[in-house]
C-alpha cells in the first residue's frame, strides 16, 4: 500500500493497518530483519535470520529485499525503518539507528510487560539490561572476551564433535556436573578435552560448561541487581542447557521469548512505529530522505 507523499517526503497516516515498519538488527554473528504491520504492538509479517559474515554487512540490502519479497512490499511501502546492532551504521536506507540495548528492551517489554531484567546471550557478546517503566534503566556488557558468549558454546561443541544445537539437550542428561575451573574459553576447551580423555561422560562435561557460562553471566548481571521477572534472550536462549543452568543460579524460572534471536529487530520495528506515530501527531514528515537499496560503501 503506497504511502501518502508530499514533496518527496513521507507523511504517515494515523490509521494503523496500512503502515508497515521494519527493524533490522545486525549482530556480530547474525543479522535479523522483522517487518510488522502498524498497530501498537504490531503483528510480525515476516522475519529473517541469517549469518552476518564480513560480506553480509555490506549486503544487508539483499536481506531486506528478501524480507520485502516475502510480504510483497517495496522499500517505500515501509513507513519507518530502524537499524540496530553492531552493524547498524551500514544500513544506508534506515531512517534511524538505535542502540540494541534500547531495541532489545522495547522488544522484550512488548512480549513480557512484567520484565525487569534481561539477559541477552549473543554470538560474540553477552549483556544484562535493567528495565523500569518500560525503559532501559541500566545495562552491563561483555564484548571483549569470548567467555559467557555463544562462541564459548561453539568452541565446546566443536571440541566434543557435536553441533551447538545438540549440546543443550545432552547436558540435561547429566548425573553430575563437572566443574570447569577456567573462565577463559581457550583454557576451558583444554579442560573439556582432558575430561573427555579421562572418560568423564559427555553430558556431565556439558553440564559443567553450561554452569560455567551461567556463572560468568550471573557474575556480570549481579552488577545491575537482578530483579524478577528475568527474561533470557539472544541466540543463547535457544539452548535448554543454558536456561537450566541460569535458572539454577537464579533459583526461579526464566521467561523466554518464542523467537529469542528476534527481540532486537522486533524492538527496533516497534520503536520505529512509535517515532512515526509521534511525527504524524505533530504533523511532521516521517523520515524524509529518499531511500534505495544499495551497498554501504563506507563500511570497512
Amino acid at each position: 500500500m503506497p504511502l501518502i507523499t508530499n514533496d518527496g517526503q513521507r507523511i504517515a497516516a494515523l490509521r494503523g493497518d496500512s503502515m508497515y515498519f521494519a527493524g533490522i538488527d545486525i549482530g556480530s554473528a547474525t543479522t535479523k530483519v522483522v517487518i510488522m504491520n502498524g498497530s501498537t504492538d504490531g503483528k510480525i509479517l515476516t522475519s529473517i535470520l541469517g549469518p552476518t559474515g564480513p560480506e553480509h554487512r555490506r549486503l544487508v540490502n539483499r536481506v531486506m529485499e528478501e524480507a520485502l519479497g516475502h510480504v510483497d512490499l517495496s522499500l517505500d511501502d515501509l513507513t519507518y525503518i530502524v537499524a540496530t546492532g553492531y552493524g547498524r551504521i551500514s544500513v544506508p536506507f534506515a531512517d534511524k539507528q538505535i542502540t540494541e540495548i534500547s531495541c532489545h528492551a522495547r522488544g522484550i517489554v512488548s512480549l513480557f510487560p512484567t520484565a525487569k531484567t534481561v539477559i541477552d546471550i549473543g554470538g560474540q557478546d553477552c549483556k544484562g539490561i535493567k528495565i523500569a517503566g518500560g525503559r532501559v534503566q541500566n545495562f552491563v556488557m561483555n564484548d571483549k572476551c569470548a567467555a559467557g558468549t555463544g562462541r564459548f558454546l561453539e568452541v565446546t561443541a566443536e571440541a566434543l564433535g557435536l553441533t551447538v544445537e545438540q549440546i543443550g539437550p545432552i547436558s540435561l542428561r547429566a548425573r553430575s556436573s563437572v566443574k570447569i575451573s577456567s573462565v577463559c574459553t581457550v583454557f576451558a576447551e583444554q579442560e573439556i578435552v582432558s575430561r573427555l580423555a579421562e572418560g568423564v561422560p559427555v553430558e556431565d562435561i556439558l553440564a559443567g560448561v553450561h554452569d560455567s557460562i551461567a556463572a560468568r553471566v550471573y557474575g556480570m548481571i549481579e552488577r545491575i541487581v537482578v530483579e524478577k521477572d528475568v527474561v533470557l534472550t539472544g541466540g543463547g536462549a535457544k539452548n535448554v542447557g543454558l536456561r537450566r543452568a541460569i535458572e539454577d543460579k537464579l533459583g526461579y524460572p526464566l521467561l523466554i521469548p518464542p523467537e529469542p534471536s528476534l527481540t532486537g529487530a522486533i524492538g527496533a520495528a516497534l520503536l520505529g512505529a512509535e517515532l512515526a506515530r509521534k511525527a504524524a501527531e505533530r504533523g511532521q514528515p516521517v523520515g524524509g530522505k529518499s531511500r534505495h537499496l544499495a551497498e554501504a560503501t563506507f563500511f570497512t
Binding site: K144, R151, V186, F187, E198
Partner: protein, 235 residues
C-alpha cells in the same frame, strides 16, 4: 655449572612428565637420583614430583636465574605457555613486585599457539615470518578466540601471513605491555619463558616498551635454572 637439562611437554599427567625429565637429565649427567643433594620444584605442577622437594614460586626462581645471568636486570618479562608474568627485581634478584596475567589466554604463549594452528604454521616459524612484515594487521580484539576469527577473515581478504603474524605479535605485546605498566619498567629489562624464543614477540615487545631486551640463551629453562640455584643455597 649446568651438567644436564631436559625439556618435555607437561601433558595431562604432571607426575609422569616429571619422572620422565628427571630420568633423562640424570642419565645425561651420568648421575643417580641418590646423588642429588637437594631439589627445588617450581611451576604449576610443582607438587607432583615423585619425591620430596622444596617448592618455590616461579617468580622467585625466575628472579634468581635472571639476576645470575644478567646482574643489571631489574625487570623480567616471563612469557609462559598459559600465563605471563612481569617481575620487578632488586639488585640481589629478589622479587619486589609482580603482575600476572589473569585467567585469560591473551598475552600468553597460548594465543600464539591458537593462531599458529589456524594458520597451519609451526611455532618456530611464526617469529621469523612476522619480522618480515611491512604493514601489520591491526587486531580489534585482545581475546584469542575472537582473534582466531579475525585471522580467518584476514586470510580470506588476502592479507599476507607475515602481516597477519606481525599483527598477532603486536596484540600479544600490547597485553604484555599492560602488565609491564603495573610494575613499572625499570631498566634493564629481560624477557624469558617460551615466548622469548619468538623473535617476532621480542621485536614487538621492544617496540611497545621502547626498550631493548636482554634474552637468555635457553629461555624455557631459566625457571628451572633458578630453582637449581635455590637448591644449591639450601645446602
Amino acid at each position: 655449572m649446568v651438567l644436564a637439562s631436559c625439556l618435555a611437554p607437561s601433558g595431562g599427567n604432571y607426575r609422569l612428565a616429571a619422572e620422565q625429565v628427571i630420568r633423562q637429565a640424570l642419565q645425561e649427567a651420568a648421575l643417580d637420583l641418590e646423588d642429588l643433594d637437594n631439589t627445588v620444584a617450581t611451576g604449576f605442577g610443582a607438587a607432583n614430583l615423585p619425591f620430596r622437594s622444596r617448592q618455590v614460586t616461579e617468580i622467585s626462581c625466575q628472579g634468581k636465574a635472571i639476576n645470575h645471568l644478567f646482574p643489571s636486570a631489574r625487570t623480567v618479562i616471563d612469557v609462559g605457555g598459559q600465563q605471563t608474568r612481569v617481575i620487578s627485581l632488586d639488585g640481589d634478584g629478589r622479587a619486589v613486585g609482580f603482575a600476572v596475567s589473569e585467567k585469560c589466554a591473551a598475552g600468553s604463549g597460548r594465543f600464539m599457539q591458537v593462531i599458529a594452528r589456524v594458520m597451519q604454521i609451526s611455532l618456530n616459524e611464526i617469529g621469523p615470518l612476522s619480522v618480515k612484515s611491512a604493514n601489520p594487521v591491526s587486531f580489534s580484539t585482545g581475546c584469542a578466540v575472537f582473534a582466531e576469527s579475525e585471522v580467518i577473515s584476514r586470510i580470506a581478504e588476502g592479507w599476507s601471513k607475515e602481516d597477519i603474524l606481525a599483527g598477532v605479535h603486536n596484540a600479544v605485546a600490547a597485553k604484555i605491555y599492560n602488565l609491564v605498566l603495573r610494575v613499572r619498567l625499570q631498566p634493564e629489562c629481560a624477557i624469558t619463558g617460551g615466548g622469548a624464543k619468538d623473535v617476532g614477540l621480542i621485536k614487538a615487545v621492544e617496540e611497545k616498551t621502547a626498550t631493548s631486551l636482554l634474552v637468555p640463551e635457553a629461555p624455557q629453562l631459566t625457571c628451572a635454572y633458578g630453582a637449581a640455584l635455590m637448591a644449591m643455597e639450601l645446602v
